[in-house]
Symmetry: C2
Subunit: 430 residues, 2 copies
């Protein structure tokens, strides 16, 4: 058996502790699979005195992760601190600069600095691996870079944020409002104290930008992702969705169209029976379409100690086995810049929920405005009569251009008979 791979672990929070536990519990199994042992030789974390329920005796401690990254007794640095910049970025840069392979679970870091860091790694023949950054334990980066490497990938999309999926699933089951469910999710530890990154769609966008880079062979372009969160999804929308044969999911979607790529994160109406319509709670799902293989779907736990640590250790296993692939599946120098396609160019079906004052002429004004923008109506639900008071009107359109839809909506919003901001949710195919 060859020499032990020595790991410096930067961050001993949930994921870091999970990595230590897996290497302890499955150490022999992993050694048999790699032909060598993987051992953590040094760690770094904010608070040295905190009880983490794991034995760190015999492991060196560094207060500064940047110092950990350059230690002579470290071959691979595992960065599980988080954050796009600051200590995480500096630790990864220091590690690559010192000739260490790097494994990270940090989607913000890769989505923001991935291309530059990949250049650093590839110039030195080092691994920069980030399976844990996307969809937790599901080996989706490996599937795209290796298992589906025979294919031109035309589309990749999925449910990439367990917090949002948990909230939406719970809202549907309980009929409760977003704020209430969010507060409970925070109490249960399923949502962060500051939930903006999750519920605002940023976390999904980070992951999508990484998936798109690997799938399409392009530099990570997080800024090109159109991002909307789930804050505006109401219990009413969820109930109407169910009635119309849909479920509401926050999807990250990237599609190649001609010379461009469309990257979007927003709530979607997914038809019941679609392969990801039933992916509930904290599960993630990634759907890939390749020219030879067709559609492939991967489902599993997208977050949490075990799943995320499983992905980190899988990357360590690759490194221990001597596998060092180009960071995004092909050398950074061969990635081709692809023009972003603006969401205004989307052509699709829309769900629209308006709250209107129930008086003569209101529907005529709305439908005339839609017609003028060539938005044609497939289904309309107007429920309850309450003359002079506000009632909901739900419209499902035929295929429409986003730009026209938005223009019509801007006009309709300005009507004094329309109360509340209109709710628009895009409908996706099966």
């Amino acid at each position: 058996m060859s020499q032990t791979i020595r790991v410096g672990l930067a961050g001993v929070g949930t994921v870091g502790a999970g990595v230590l536990k897996i290497l302890e519990t499955n150490g022999d199994l992993i050694a048999a699979r790699c032909g060598r042992r993987i051992a953590v030789t040094a760690v770094s974390a904010r608070d040295r005195t905190k009880d983490r329920g794991i034995d760190l005796s015999g492991v060196a401690w560094e207060d500064d992760p940047r110092a950990l990254a350059v230690r002579d007794d470290v071959d691979v640095v595992v960065e599980v601190m988080g954050g796009a910049n600051g200590a995480a970025l500096e630790t990864v840069e220091a590690a690559l600069g010192a000739g260490k392979d790097v494994v990270t679970a940090n989607k913000a870091l890769i989505a923001t600095h991935g291309t530059r860091l990949a250049t650093l790694a590839e110039d030195r023949g080092l691994a920069l691996a980030f399976e844990a950054a996307v969809a937790g334990g599901i080996p989706v980066i490996k599937a795209l870079k290796e298992g589906l490497a025979a294919n031109r990938i035309d589309r990749v999309y999925g449910i990439l944020n367990g917090t949002c999926n948990y909230i939406l699933s719970d809202m549907e089951t309980s009929g409760r409002a977003f704020e209430l469910v969010l507060r409970e999710a925070q109490a249960l530890g399923y949502a962060e104290a500051d939930p903006t990154f999750d519920v605002g769609g940023i976390d999904t966008a980070h992951k999508l930008a990484i998936l798109a880079a690997v799938a399409f062979g392009m530099p990570v372009n997080f800024d090109a992702v159109h991002v909307e969160g789930i804050e505006q999804v109401s219990a009413e929308d969820i109930a109407f969705a169910r009635e119309l044969g849909y479920r509401i999911k926050l999807l990250g979607m990237a599609r190649r169209r001609g010379d461009g790529v469309d990257q979007r994160v927003h709530p979607c109406m997914v038809p019941l029976g679609a392969p990801i319509a039933d992916v509930d709670g904290v599960e993630n799902a990634v759907v890939t379409e390749g020219d030879a293989v067709g559609r492939t779907i991967l489902v599993g736990r997208g977050a949490g100690e075990g799943p995320t640590a499983s992905a980190v250790v899988a990357d360590l296993v690759d490194i221990a086995r001597g596998l060092r692939l180009p960071v995004f599946g092909q050398p950074v120098g061969t990635l081709s810049d692809v023009a972003p396609i603006d969401i205004a160019e989307r052509v699709g079906v829309y769900y629209l929920r308006l709250t209107v004052v129930d008086k003569p002429g209101v529907m005529a004004a709305i439908t005339t405005t839609l017609a003028r923008h060539e938005v044609s109506i497939d289904q309309m639900i107007q429920r309850g009569r309450a003359p002079g008071a506000a009632v909901p009107v739900v419209i499902i359109t035929h295929e429409t251009r986003e730009a026209e839809m938005q223009a019509a909506l801007a006009e309709i919003s300005a009507f004094d008979t329309v109360r509340e901001a209109p709710h628009l949710i895009r409908v996706v195919g099966s």
Copy 2:
């Protein structure tokens, strides 16, 4: 860019033609991903004159695949002829003997001779790759060997044969009998002229034995797989299943229990809402349970030119990138023999359909016999009264030992009031 990888293609049927097409269509993309080109330099097939719709000019032809396997201008041999023995086996042996890496789509070969061939390959430091042998285009072998390598895998199961899944889906939709649907599937090319391997469960068992070897780190043990096919599944069973909240699927299932491993292929009642209950038609699905990652589900096309060729080329990409892992994920010498667990030891729920003569005392005799074997009844459907004639009785049991269930069934079958052989289908959890 390094030297081109030269492929000798043994077999130019559906899969072989698919490989040639992918290397043609996506050649540049694949070269960017591998850092070198993959080119077929020689082929071998039964009939040289057949028009395959692909350009084979500039490619050497060998009538004998064993001669192809040892050519100097071949680095990797792709075996896509099929068959557990004969030419396929001799070609793979010749290739490994001559120091060539081997990629095969041949599940019968790997299920039968996998361990011995792995030894041959590993002794010479060669790859013997078989992603295409299981679940077509779904990269499930890579997921088990690499993406989930941090985990102790406790269970792997799935829908592994598209022909059976197509037939069962069609029987459900159309309400037609097995023989009729099979005949149509043969006419459409979804089933072979001799369908025994598919509908008899052998093909699923080959794939399961391979999955179990990789998942549990044990030598392939095809002989230990309990195999039943779908020939006895009737339209009535499918209708009753639906009424009771189940769908019938042919599953291959392997589970580690203590020091043993249970490997089984048989029709199952899968509860509606279970992750694979909705996998229809020619799709395959593989579910894996790992101690850290939890449950992971992979779904995609399990057969056909594109998906199978996608997997073959993915293996070629691995080899072109220099990846040569132990054949079953850890060196053959470290695989540990695991005792097979007999199906008689299964504890679970059973669906039973009896055809009984409608006369006094029949039900008492059946239920008394079940009770004597400690089989307790959860649900019973007795439909229609036709005094003196045969009527169906459907029973869902509580958890029961297989051995007791079979003993009770043997007694009940012998009653002169019981017409037709009883139908037993095992119910699986969600």
